[in-house]
């Protein structure tokens, strides 16, 4: 009697624990699924709404279009303000790709100087660079605009691209400095003994080794430029120069009541490149953010 009791309790205790742990896992999973649903819902809604005809927007706020149609896509291909959609796409692409090139070029050079060269003034410059990480744009945009205006560069891409070639975004410099500092120095020293200067060490040793941070930097530079609204709003006047976000503003302004379908569809189409980037590089992005300890 006592023996069986002991045996059963001895048998039961771990089973109870097991089921408790299992239950916890189930609750955990359900809670996370619920959060996922809330987080992803706006995007799902956007995607689903691109297939709703205009007449449906007032009534049907759910996920499933009652009369699915592709007409919105047909409408937005024509563009807005006399400029076809592909033009906005092309402008956005030119800006984003130039930003990637400029950012990688200028930030990696600066990062190498900060991390690997000892020279007078290094400390002050490095502190200044970190300081600009916290600098609000409010204090620089007005003079920048005035000067670019004086140079006759309004309504060109120069004010949008030039800063990228001058490493004004400290985030990228900092990202690469951290990465270079974590690299072992023995290869640099071996190369120096063989007579290589900083130029060759940078090009043949450092750059190949910091490829992960270059890729992370490239992705962020692309996405941030693609999304940027304030700078193109300030500098670009004529519709044929507009990148997507400014074109979307036109939809948003003009069609707040009339062509809702086109507005929503154009919004979705503008996000496609970023969503693709995200799907392809998600591990990379997420791990990059996690290891760099910086925001995304």
């Amino acid at each position: 009697m006592t023996a069986t009791q002991i045996v059963t309790t001895g048998h039961r205790a771990p089973r109870k624990k097991m089921t408790r742990k299992k239950w916890q896992t189930v609750i955990w999973f359900v809670a996370l699924l619920a959060i996922t649903a809330i987080v992803i819902y706006p995007l799902l809604w956007l995607f689903a709404s691109t297939f709703k005809p205009n007449s449906e927007f007032g009534q049907n706020q759910g996920l499933i279009p009652l009369n699915p149609t592709f007409e919105n896509y047909g409408t937005i291909v024509e563009g807005i303000g006399g400029v076809p959609m592909w033009r906005f796409f092309a402008n956005s692409t030119i800006l984003a790709v130039s930003a990637v090139i400029g950012t990688l070029f200028s930030s990696s050079l600066a990062a190498y100087a900060f991390a690997r060269i000892k020279f007078k003034g290094l400390g002050i410059f490095f502190a200044s660079m970190i300081g600009t990480l916290l600098l609000p744009v409010h204090v620089v945009i007005i003079p920048q605009y005035i000067w670019f205006n004086k140079l006759g560069l309004i309504d060109t891409f120069v004010p949008l691209i030039l800063p990228k070639f001058l490493a004004t975004e400290a985030f990228f410099v900092f990202l690469m400095v951290q990465f270079i500092r974590n690299l072992p120095k023995d290869m640099d020293e071996a190369a120096r003994i063989d007579g290589a200067g900083h130029g060759r060490i940078f090009w043949y040793i450092t750059l190949p080794l910091i490829k992960p941070s270059l890729i992370t930097g490239a992705i962020f530079a692309f996405i941030w430029t693609w999304n940027d609204f304030l700078a193109p709003l300030l500098y670009l006047n004529s519709p044929e120069n507009y990148p997507l976000p400014i074109a979307l503003r036109l939809y948003n302004d003009q069609t707040s009541t009339s062509d809702y379908g086109a507005t929503v569809t154009a919004s979705f189409v503008a996000l496609i490149p970023i969503l693709l980037f995200f799907i392809v590089f998600q591990r990379f992005l997420v791990n990059g953010v996690a290891t760099q300890g910086l925001k995304g």
């Binding site: 987080v39 809604w45 409010h138 620089v140 007005i142 205006n149 304030l230």
Partner: protein, 323 residues
């Protein structure tokens, strides 16, 4: 004898000729290093002087002038600042809603990021998927597209309104509601918790398991373990992200612009400071006045940073190898 002499000569010769070249080699090396340093830093330096430092100083000067881009700046002393604080209720309101948005929204966002990071850290199965799903909004949250979606979602009879009606809550549209539009903007910021969450999650994974086990042996409950182990270990990461997020929150622009169609309405409740600066500077071309707004933002950000750094000692814990 002759050998010692030659030896002496050679050593003397060596010592005499070798030392100066050695020193000058070191000097040429420092010069070369400095030259290389400045060459590599050249693009950054041009940008720093021409697009950051220069503009900062110039906008400081402009903030004491009246300037409309066409006639030269006219010195007005502290007029702009005095006018902002005594004679511009729109600015006061803009400053108030911006501070509310920054000081309330950012802590909520970080708390959400931390809570969900801890939840994710609880089990490993599927955590990678959730991590990626939660991260996505951070990449697109500041875009015009998302602002348009937000506007549609929170409109009268929009999905949010309809959804709440199911639970018997009739709030109407959030977009036109003076008391709901700022909370809605905060929701949009909180929705982008993912990037911070990923950073916190990485920090949580680095907390040594022994610390939790030791705390459990000592009889610490879940809350005590959080306060005594998790928070101290994570505090440097929290500090750094709090600082960056606060500065970032001051710059909210695209969503406010799109949601209010550039007006800052309803009743100025989305007229965040960046939008107000934009309107004053670029719509009304009051460059001096707008520069003064810019410098006030700069000073407020600096004050917040200094306060954070000052209080750092009491809550941020650096365990040596953390950084």
């Amino acid at each position: 004898m002759s050998t010692t002499e030659t030896r002496r000569v050679t050593t003397a010769g060596r010592g005499g000729t070798r030392r100066p070249p050695h020193r000058s080699a070191a000097r040429t090396r420092t010069i070369r290093e400095t030259l290389a340093g400045y060459t590599f830093l050249l693009p950054w330096m041009i940008g720093f002087l021409g697009l950051t430092m220069g503009p900062m100083l110039y906008s400081l000067y402009l903030s004491f002038t009246s300037y409309n881009l066409f006639s030269p700046p006219k010195w007005v002393g502290f007029d702009n600042y005095i006018r902002l604080f005594t004679d511009d209720p729109v600015f006061i309101q803009s400053a108030q809603i911006t501070l509310f948005y920054v000081l309330v929204g950012t802590p909520i966002k970080l708390a959400a990021a931390l809570a969900i990071a801890m939840l994710l850290n609880f089990r490993d199965r599927g955590a990678g998927f959730f991590r990626s799903a939660f991260y996505a909004p951070s990449l697109i949250g500041a875009s015009v597209s998302v602002a348009i979606v937000w506007r549609a979602m929170f409109n009268t009879d929009g999905p949010v309104d309809r959804g709440l009606q199911i639970f018997g809550i009739n709030l109407g549209g959030w977009i036109g509601n003076v008391s709901l539009v700022v909370p809605m903007m905060i929701l949009l910021a909180v929705w982008q918790f993912g990037a911070t969450m990923v950073i916190f999650l990485a920090g949580l994974k680095q907390v040594p398991k022994e610390l939790y086990e030791a705390a459990e042996v000592d009889g610490a409950g879940a809350f005590r373990r959080f306060r005594a182990v998790t928070m101290p270990m994570l505090s440097p990461v929290v500090f750094f992200n709090l600082l960056l997020e606060l500065v970032g929150a001051f710059q909210v622009f695209a969503s406010a612009y799109i949601i209010s169609n550039g007006t800052g309405g309803p009743a100025g409740m989305t007229n965040f400071i960046t939008l107000y600066l934009y309107k004053r500077g670029f719509t009304d071309t009051q460059m001096g006045y707008a520069s003064a707004i810019g410098w006030i933002v700069m000073i407020v950000v600096a004050v917040i940073a200094v306060i954070l750094f000052r209080t750092q000692k009491s809550w941020v814990h650096y365990s040596g190898d953390d950084r």
